[in-house]
Symmetry: C2
Subunit: 123 residues, 2 copies
DNA sequence: ATAAACCCTGACATTAATGTGAGGGTCAAG
DNA sequence: CTTGACCCTCACATTAATGTCAGGGTTTAT
């Protein structure tokens, strides 16, 4: 299957498919004319990549264990767990940061509304 | 006060102070030799800018109400509330996204540990 | 008058995945 | 043999605040 078909089947842009290749995530064969030829298995592979990207992992991290998880259960791949844990820690940090900002914003919004209430009464 | 002193007093890098000026947040006077001259009030102004940046607002958004809030109470500045509310909505979205990813990661980590438990017993 | 410590502008780098366009081959159907 | 629909590579743009040079003036103290 050529790149256009793979793109249509997966919903991933041609640009992105080429980028994944450049990052070492896909290694399609080449026709004599230079066209990429993807095996049917690649479709599932691309969906797997998208899944990991959606978890916030970088292409570099994914490259580190993709070959393993495509052939085995995730639990078999030693690299996965530490990456998951690291990502989880990052996510937790981000959530806490955002929640602090959220509380701050809510306070400020409340203050503004309170002040306006007072000002309204004064006039 | 010159830029080095302002930077030292506020902890904000010289580079950033120049950037704030470029974004219209600061407008120091100039000496004949081209050196920027900041009024003592600027120190507080810079702290205010940092405060808003820490809330996740962009310099462009800050520029939209900074002059007002420096002269009045925040509640007086009409531009502030909608920006706060918009930012709050964005933050909420991000938090929800991150929480979904977090749950997903936790599931996956649990699955891996469970599977390994089983595999350990089998051998 | 020289050295150290300032200041200036301009410009490129950073991050990461993706969009977009130029310039140019290839192939299939008419 | 031409047209349209593919494909290729290369490369610049995107975001936003900040870091970091380079190349060059100024000031202050010695």
């Amino acid at each position: 299957m050529k790149i256009g078909e793979l793109s249509a089947r997966t919903g991933v842009s041609i640009r992105s498919l080429r980028y994944y290749e450049q990052q070492g995530l896909l290694t399609p064969a080449r026709h004599g004319n230079g066209y990429r030829e993807y095996s049917p298995l690649t479709e599932e592979q691309v969906r797997t990549i998208q899944l990991y990207l959606a978890l916030g992992l970088s292409t570099e991290q994914i490259a580190g264990f993709l070959q393993c998880v495509l052939k085995n259960k995730e639990a078999f791949c030693q690299e996965v767990l530490p990456i998951y844990r690291q990502k989880l820690a990052e996510i937790d940090d981000q959530i806490h940061l955002l929640q602090n900002i959220k509380l701050n914003l809510e306070d400020r919004i409340r203050s503004i509304l309170d002040e306006r209430q007072i000002d309204d009464k004064e006039e």
